[in-house]
Symmetry: C2
Subunit: 193 residues, 2 copies
DNA sequence: CCTACCGATCGGTAGG
DNA sequence: CCTACCGATCGGTAGG
């Protein structure tokens, strides 16, 4: 059973993804939920608070997923593959909210915007550190870690478009294909399975 | 010298990127241009018409760039590298408008939205065809061309974020690094320069 | 959770 | 290119 609060936040995620944060009115959201607009304010103090909950909730998911991904893994290659898989699985499990996380966070206001940017940078940094470590220990060739991080993460993030159009896609296989291209692309040797 | 029309469209591109289409008002745009809001309607029939011009103008740029990129190239590898470079150069030359092209096209209305989606699909298809051809002639290994296309294009598109933050980046080098990772990642053999 | 309503702002038009 | 202005819609509040 979904609590009312949970229902509102999911509906907001759906609408923010479909029409964008700015173009979604509280009346649109109320209609989707099945109440009158002012009733929403019994659960959330503002439209901004809804966006905040979605964006930072997703940030938590991604950080948790990364942590689970890298434990019990030894090589940078394995860590990067696993982190990629977990990352895509989070997107798959939250197809609407993840788009809000990727594209609507710019509507966060004031200090929350800065806090969000820091979290995002921090997350990217975790991937970058793995790539740098792999370069240092000769697992990967000498590449620009910043560019490689962007390459990998943007490919992983783009999976939401693929998965949105065909829900019966397997997120694990998808992540594996992307990871294989990327890892092969930065490896010193040919890649054997 | 920029015509008034050109100035308006550039200002619109800047604001649409910064705040999004829906959150940018014609009054915001008028202030940026230095006129009163109603004066804008002497140059454009509506806010929607501005978005239309930016989105389809950028589509033209990308198609033209692709055409230039592949002529006089023989292998799929060379074509993909060259197309990647030209793609990134278009982004570099139109840093604001390209973000509108990537993220604000969802606010296109009615038949224009469908026309835009078709163009976009068509452009992706050109990359996909190169990858499929490369697989067929054994230049690349047996990969899912759809996934590979998304991987490559999303990495190339992400360069706008990198270039926005440091304008003195070299778009050619950036594209080359991404292309090298990607081509190596899908190649049958090790890649030699 | 609702009805009634607020001040602000929106895209756009009329008329000059 | 401007001033004056339109009807519609916005996020949110008061009060019950």
């Amino acid at each position: 059973m979904l609590s009312r609060r949970e229902l509102i936040i999911r509906s907001a995620g759906k609408l923010f993804r479909e029409k964008g944060y700015a173009a979604t009115s509280m009346r649109d959201l109320a209609r989707e939920v099945g109440v009158e607009a002012p009733s929403l304010y019994n659960h959330f103090s503002s439209k901004q608070a809804l966006l905040r909950d979605i964006c930072f909730g997703m940030a938590d998911e991604f950080f948790q997923a990364f942590k689970n991904a890298v434990e019990n893994k030894t090589t940078c290659t394995d860590k990067l593959i696993s982190a990629g898989k977990e990352h895509v699985r989070v997107i798959y499990n939250h197809l609407e909210a993840s788009v809000v996380f990727f594209e609507e966070w710019i509507f966060l206001e004031g200090s929350e915007l800065n806090r969000f940017k820091r979290l995002r940078k921090n997350y990217q940094q975790k991937f970058k550190a793995l790539i740098e470590e792999g370069v240092n220990c000769n697992e990967f060739r000498k590449i620009d870690a910043r560019v490689a991080t962007f390459t990998y993460l943007s490919s992983l993030n783009a999976t939401h478009e693929l998965m949105m159009h065909s829900r019966n896609i397997n997120p694990d296989e998808l992540a594996e294909q992307i990871a294989e291209i990327f890892i092969k692309g930065i490896s010193r040797r040919l890649f054997h399975h």
